[in-house]
Amino acid sequence: MKLHNTTDRIEKEIVLRAPRSRVWRALASADEFGAWFGMKLDGAFAPGGRVRGQMTLHDRGPVTVEIVIERMDAETRMSYRWHPYAFEPGVDYSSEPTTLVEFHLEEIADGTRLTVVESGFDRIPAARRAEALRMNDAGWAGQLENIARHVAS
């Protein structure tokens, strides 16, 4: 896995040993996306559509993450906006800037090259960033518990 960071964006690239159509389904189907990402989504993904995801965070119980889908170009590209780490229960983040997450799929000899770019961090207010990381610390513990449970089952 390669990693490119600048001040405003994070870029990831990973080779998945699965056909592009399989990878696309794992991204484009809200059920499948939720399964690997670790959240329960309340609707299907469609361009311009708004979907709410429920995640369970360590020590905090369920929180809601709102995802607004921008583009869905079959088997090629999908993008959405969300509030990164906006995981504080009961806080209205709707007026705050979002980050843009873009997935790019490319067919290669041994599978699919997937690139993920999350951009827009420069626009997130300083206070929110501080809180975000505090929340994310809690989120990480929860994610690790989820993985441990998954592996043990």
């Binding site: 896995m1 990693l3 960071n5 001040t7 405003d8 994070i10 990831k12 990973i14 998945l16 040993r17 699965a18 399989r22 990878v23 794992a26 499948e32 399964a35 690997w36 990402f37 670790g38 990164p84 780490y85 997937l114 993920v116 999350e118 961090f121 420069d122 997130i124 207010p125 300083a126 206070a127 960033r129 501080a130 809180e131 975000a132 990381l133 505090r134 994310n136 610390d137 989120g139 990480w140 513990a141 994610q143 690790l144 993985i147």
Partner: protein, 113 residues
């Protein structure tokens, strides 16, 4: 590695750093000081298409984000990087980055099984 290794204080300090670095001239100044060490404004302006006055302004913005500091040496001001601030910004991005690493690992298992 501890889950709490990148504390939230790092993030609150990192925010103005990101804004200050969102400019090509300032990034170039940081890169220059990173490779050459402390430099005077004369040295920083030499070979640049940007005026001394503009360089001074950009250094002021970097200084207010805590990225650089200056000290007087004879008749010149010497500017140098404040590495601690740079490190805080880097730690924040690393932290966000790791979340994606974990998510993509799960995706890999999911589509390859």
């Amino acid at each position: 590695m501890s889950l709490h290794s990148a504390g939230w204080r790092d993030v609150s300090r990192a925010a103005p750093v990101f804004a200050a670095l969102g400019d090509q001239t300032r990034l170039a100044l940081v890169a220059r000081m990173s490779s050459d060490g402390p430099l005077s404004i004369t040295q920083l302006t030499a070979g640049s298409a940007v005026t001394r006055q503009a360089i001074t302004k950009h250094l002021g913005i970097l200084a207010s984000a805590g990225l650089v500091s200056d000290r007087r040496q004879g008749r010149e001001r010497i500017w140098e990087l404040e590495l601690e601030q740079m490190e805080a910004a880097r730690r924040y991005l690393d932290h966000v980055s790791k979340r994606w690493d974990a998510a993509l690992d799960r995706l890999k298992q999911f589509v390859e099984e």
